[in-house]
């Protein structure tokens, strides 16, 4: 028992500080990916309801590909593909370097791409829940398209999409664990290193699971709070 406390302490003998750093990396990656995925997903959902057939098709191809590929494979495609691609590009320009992409950046791009594909579906169904009268009212008030979108549609859209986005956030949080495979020092990787060094695999992987559980619990509390905050207008959607 005492042995366990020493192993988990924040000191030179303990792994507490390393794992705490892993928690920060996991949270940081999830928060860095979120805006990327949200913005891309928003534009994708706009493209999917466009009058232009080509635009709709381009967005559908994107969603089909990144919804169908395993996240781990997307991660490897981005990680190795970008490295090879940029190296070849630099080689074509006559520069020979050993370019290595940061695993944080690769994780951010891969998870962001996957997130945006799922997020566009959430936004799309939220768009469909907004009656056409809202757009008409916007133009009756003399607002242009951007003003209608940002002042009338978007506030309602976010409120409708919030439960779906909350689910996607939970999925994103869990998917960050995959980035440990390409060497990002997140919770799982730090726990793995600790497990290998201390030979206490069950303890450290158990701690990693509990930390993810704590993050999920914390997120669900925060999401509930945000939902209650946006519903304070009392208008049910």
């Amino acid at each position: 028992m005492e042995q366990t406390f020493i192993l988990l302490s924040f000191g030179p003998d303990g792994w507490g500080d390393e794992i705490a750093f892993g928690v920060l990396v996991t949270i940081g990656l999830a928060f860095a990916t979120l805006p990327l995925g949200l913005i891309a997903g928003f534009f994708l959902s706009l493209a999917k309801q466009s009058d232009e057939k080509t635009l709709r098709m381009a967005a559908e191809v994107y969603t089909t590909i990144f919804r169908g590929l395993p996240e781990l494979l997307t991660l490897f495609l981005v990680y190795y593909g970008l490295q090879i691609g940029i190296r070849q590009l630099l080689l074509a320009l006559g520069i020979e370097t050993t370019f290595e992409i940061n695993s944080f950046l690769a994780g951010m791009i891969a998870l962001g791409v996957v997130f945006s594909a799922f997020c566009s579906e959430v936004f799309l169904s939220a768009f469909r829940a907004i009656p056409a009268g809202q757009y008409e009212a916007g133009s009756a008030l003399g607002l242009n398209r951007f003003q209608t979108m940002f002042n009338i549609i978007l506030p309602q859209l976010i409120r409708i999409a919030l439960p779906g986005l909350g689910n996607l956030w939970m999925i994103l949080l869990k998917e960050t664990a995959l980035v440990s495979v390409i060497g990002l020092p997140d919770i799982l990787r730090q726990a793995g290193i600790a497990a290998r060094v201390s030979k206490e695999a069950f303890l450290f992987y158990g701690i990693a699971c509990l930390l993810f559980l704590a993050l999920a619990l914390l997120s669900s509390i925060m999401i509930n709070r945000i939902e209650r905050h946006v519903e304070r207008s009392g208008i049910r959607v």
Partner: protein, 276 residues
């Protein structure tokens, strides 16, 4: 009095006005052009790098990996479906001694990443080697394949229990009362009235769960099970040829899209009596 003696001859309609070059049209055409270029690039890359020797060596491995993936997913989905029934019943029970453990089980397996659960079982249980040895289970937990099946079954049982619970609770109470009024026994109420209606609701979530499992099963490659992704990684580490990953992507896309379309067709067929 004058009147028109001759009707105006029928005319062709005017030519349609040229479609304006809006931003969305420009964006759509250019994005589509990018996708077509990507597709052409991938095809050119795959044909330029086509090496009969490599294909002869690795194609059978890819197919065996595909078989491993599909076997793994089918076994875990079926075992998970069986395990999900008591969990769902526990979740719906009024007795806290049954509902609390079921709740924590579901919360744990849905709240943590599948890869962490897999590591917990594969690496974590290895630590209890002597204890497992003494009850004769070490042979089971030594094999990564068994650990993968166990982790996936436990994980999908939690998700499927929630699907089942949601579906069973979506059947209106009047159906239970109606069955009771007809004097049906509890078994017949469920077997003939509730479950057929619940399964239609559960059909789509079940399909999504299978697709999620196929995608999620790629992580077994990390604990040295040679599924489709494991074979891909092995082929890449031996050849350093990026087309290994592209072929894996093509395989996965075909499976997932095929399954999705199959499921849509099945749902359309099974719900045809609900169409108005």
């Amino acid at each position: 009095m004058s009147f028109a003696k001759q009707l105006i001859a029928p005319q062709r309609p005017p030519p349609p006005a040229p479609r304006p070059w809006t931003i969305s049209r420009f964006a759509g055409l250019s994005l589509m052009a990018i996708w077509i270029l990507v597709a052409i690039g991938v095809i050119l890359f795959l044909t330029a790098e086509w090496d009969p020797e490599k294909v002869a060596k690795y194609a059978p491995k890819y197919f065996s990996g595909l078989g491993v993936t599909l076997t793994l997913v089918s076994i875990s989905i079926i075992l998970g479906a069986i395990a999900s029934v008591p969990v769902a019943l526990g979740r719906m029970s009024n007795n806290p001694l049954l509902s609390m453990p079921a709740f924590f089980y579901v919360y744990f397996f849905r709240g943590t990443p599948l890869i962490a659960q897999l590591f917990l079982i594969y690496y974590g249980l290895g630590e209890f080697r002597h204890a497992l040895d003494s009850i004769g289970l070490w042979g089971f937990f030594r094999e990564p394949w068994n650990c993968a099946i166990l982790a996936f079954t436990l994980n999908t049982a939690a998700y499927q229990a929630e699907i089942l619970r949601g579906a069973l609770q979506s059947v209106p109470r009047g159906q239970h009362e109606g069955a009771k009024a007809l004097g049906l026994s509890r078994f017949h109420t469920y077997w003939k009235v509730i479950i057929p209606q619940a399964l239609i609701v559960a059909l789509r979530p079940y399909g999504n769960e299978i697709i999620l499992m196929i995608k999620g099963s790629a992580i077994v490659a990390i604990i040295t099970v040679f599924d489709l992704f494991g074979e891909t990684r092995r082929a890449y580490s031996r050849t350093f040829d990026f087309q290994a990953y592209i072929w894996a992507a093509i395989f996965y896309l075909i499976i997932v899209e095929g399954l999705r379309n199959l499921w849509n067709a099945m749902e359309k067929r099974l719900t045809r009596h609900l169409k108005r």
